[in-house]
Symmetry: C2
Subunit: 419 residues, 2 copies
């Protein structure tokens, strides 16, 4: 999830942050003053962008991404999207978001629509892979490169999609539940695909045993965490009831969520999957609403760092490369179409199928991880790497825009005092 | 505020964090998994310590400091108290705490007891300085060393004192208001004293003009921030009212607090002073209680990192140095007595004067900053440095203990659901 890591080579200039007299800090670290200055820029940009988007009847997150673009490397250069501490805090933000999304979700509803979610995820990965692979073959690429670009096309940014659904009040509707379930599966499978293609790129053979092991442990973790977590809940709530110090519910719940997130990472899955599972488990308890109220301010502290740094990492200068732009155009069209069609895999339910597909479109930080792994392994270089990054950028902005247009309603966040 | 930075040379071993496979991160940075693992340790230790302290009718923060000791370099080594990212987040925690303390404070009450606070701060800095200087002279030290140790004795940890007062429900009583006011002044003057002695240590002459400039800009900032901030509040509240996205009050208030904190640092004062001023200004608005409720979970996220890392940085092996222990004994007795007497400087009010003095006793992270600046400048080395660090440790634990005994009541945090 190192958003914008690929832009590290561009000369950058950050007046506001530099003003804070860094002193003798090791490379990559921030002083308190530098961090506070960055947070001020992030919060102001995030609010300006979010509010403007709401006025235009668009999801707030779309405005935040655009605002990030405005203060990032293609705009005012007030934020360094490659700053490692900011990226770490951005990851904490996405972890907290998925915890909160899990808490707001309904496990039974997710399970009921589970078969549809599996179908949507499967089609939503297979079609973009095939189309991306095909475009690259058509452009004369070799097998390995075509596979890598195809794999990059399978990503879905669960953070961005979930936030759009939450912004629009669609998290608990059929469309939202299917998108959420499919995006979680996409994320689980994405980690696996990434390790497989990275292995192939490094000349390793495709070890089916290893792939099976990761698939088994990732899916097994999700099921196990929910089943064992549910059993453990009476003990957990008993402990919380006995605590008398301040913040007892929030702190205990964070320990639970972070423990599952940490465990998910150890088992080769992603931290956000563990956090999501923790949210699902806690959603079944009577503490759900108290915890939601206490978790919101913490998420509100961290999450803007994620959206603003994703936007800030966008390098519009890439669009000047005509050759890359041509290839990116082809990849972007197939990347959008490939995800859009997957909505129709949601069989047997009455829902806006186009909107389901639109919810799977944004590649976001997950697509950037694919691009940077491809760059690091030497497979995805030059024009091809630039084209994939452009495709990721375009889908990241186009997805929320399309979803906002398809589900256009009075946004939920408009109910004042919801925070 | 680099707590425990002085212990960096001790060989350490952190099994839990190491288990998270650091990969190729630059030195000093953490992966998401490492950060989550550290937070789990911090939260569990903080809750265990805090709860135990409450059962023993002590301030929760005392238990958190002891728990930090248990998981730190002198105990289980589950936390690295020199980890730069954790120290940065700990500083964010103290900044948020002072914002919250300002929000819970009463500007009029502070101003009414202002003369008493000035007197307490003055006596509470002069007497410990003289006693520390005297002890060192008695031990045969040179002028420069004696001045440095005397200066180190003047520190007060506003974070620890304020949290104890908050834990015990004493923040708005006469004792609490005087301690808070005096601790804020101590912090403002401490920054100045530190820059003066560091200047002297580097062979520079004592430039009175420069000292006057810092005094003027620090105090002027505090007054100016409150006066101008109050004028700006109608505009600020007007903006907040127009925002419709989630977390509008919290985010806007954080921007205000972080801007003042950043400005305070730029002007040569400390970030926490700016955050405190922002809290005082917002306390005068009708948003006070809403904001308090939203700020609490965020503080609860960050603040335990501060108390646990302060405790974790304590190196009990230092107590094995008999020569240092003897000197530390003398310094600690005078450091405690020097602060205890300052309570009687609170003229013309009916209050527990001994408790006021006790509230000024903990040196905490401020004392460690003095010790590490002294070490870096070459003045405070070997036995003398160790003795000062031991003095800081002993006063940090003894202060809350004494204050808890003197103000022993039903702790406020015992009212369930206060978070």
């Amino acid at each position: 999830m190192s958003t914008g890591a690929t832009q590290r080579s561009y000369a950058m200039f950050y007046p506001l942050i530099a003003a804070s007299a860094p002193g003798a800090l090791p490379e990559g670290l921030l002083s308190l003053g530098q961090l506070l200055a960055s947070l001020i820029v992030i919060y102001v940009a995030s609010k300006l962008g979010g509010e403007l988007a709401l006025r235009l009847r668009q999801p707030a997150v779309l405005g935040e991404l655009v605002a990030g673009l405005a203060v990032g490397i293609s705009g005012l250069k007030l934020i360094d999207p490659t700053q490692p501490v900011l990226l770490l805090l951005a990851q904490v933000g996405v972890t907290l978001l998925l915890f909160e999304i899990g808490l707001e979700s309904d496990l039974r509803g997710l399970l009921k629509l589970g078969p549809q979610a599996v179908a949507v995820a499967a089609v939503g990965m297979a079609v973009p892979f095939a189309l991306g692979y095909g475009v690259m073959k058509f452009a004369g690429a070799g097998e390995l490169l075509a596979i890598f670009v195809g794999a990059s096309s399978t990503a879905t940014s669960i953070g961005i999609s979930a936030k759009v659904l939450s912004d629009l009040g669609y998290l608990k509707r059929t469309e939202g539940q299917i998108i959420l379930g499919a995006a979680v599966l996409d994320d689980i499978l994405g980690v696996i695909i990434l390790s497989v293609v990275a292995g192939i790129a490094q000349g390793g053979s495709l070890e089916l045993g290893e792939v099976a092991r990761i698939v088994f442990s990732s899916l097994g973790f999700l099921v196990g965490a929910i089943v064992i977590g549910n059993r453990f809940m009476p003990v957990f709530l008993g402990i919380v009831r006995r605590l008398r110090t301040r913040g007892e519910l929030l702190t205990a719940s964070l320990v639970f969520a972070f423990a599952l997130a940490y465990l998910a990472e150890l088992l080769g899955s992603a931290a956000i999957i563990g956090a999501f599972a923790a949210g699902l488990v806690l959603a079944e308890t009577d503490k759900r609403h108290d915890l939601e109220a206490q978790l919101r301010p913490v998420t509100d502290f961290f999450l803007p760092i994620f959206f603003i740094t994703v936007g800030a990492g966008v390098n519009l200068a890439l669009l000047g490369n005509q050759q890359a732009l041509l290839l990116a155009g082809g990849l972007s069209v197939t990347a959008v179409l490939g995800k859009l069609v997957c909505g129709w895999a949601a069989f047997g339910v009455k829902a806006n199928k186009l909107a389901i597909g639109a919810g799977m479109v944004p590649r976001g930080e997950v697509g950037l991880v694919f691009a940077s792994v491809g760059l690091a392994s030497g497979v995805l270089t030059g024009v091809n790497h630039t084209a994939v990054v452009i495709m990721v950028i375009l889908t990241t902005f186009f997805g929320p825009l399309l979803l906002g247009l398809l589900l256009r309603r009075e946004p939920v966040a408009l109910t004042a005092g919801s925070s």
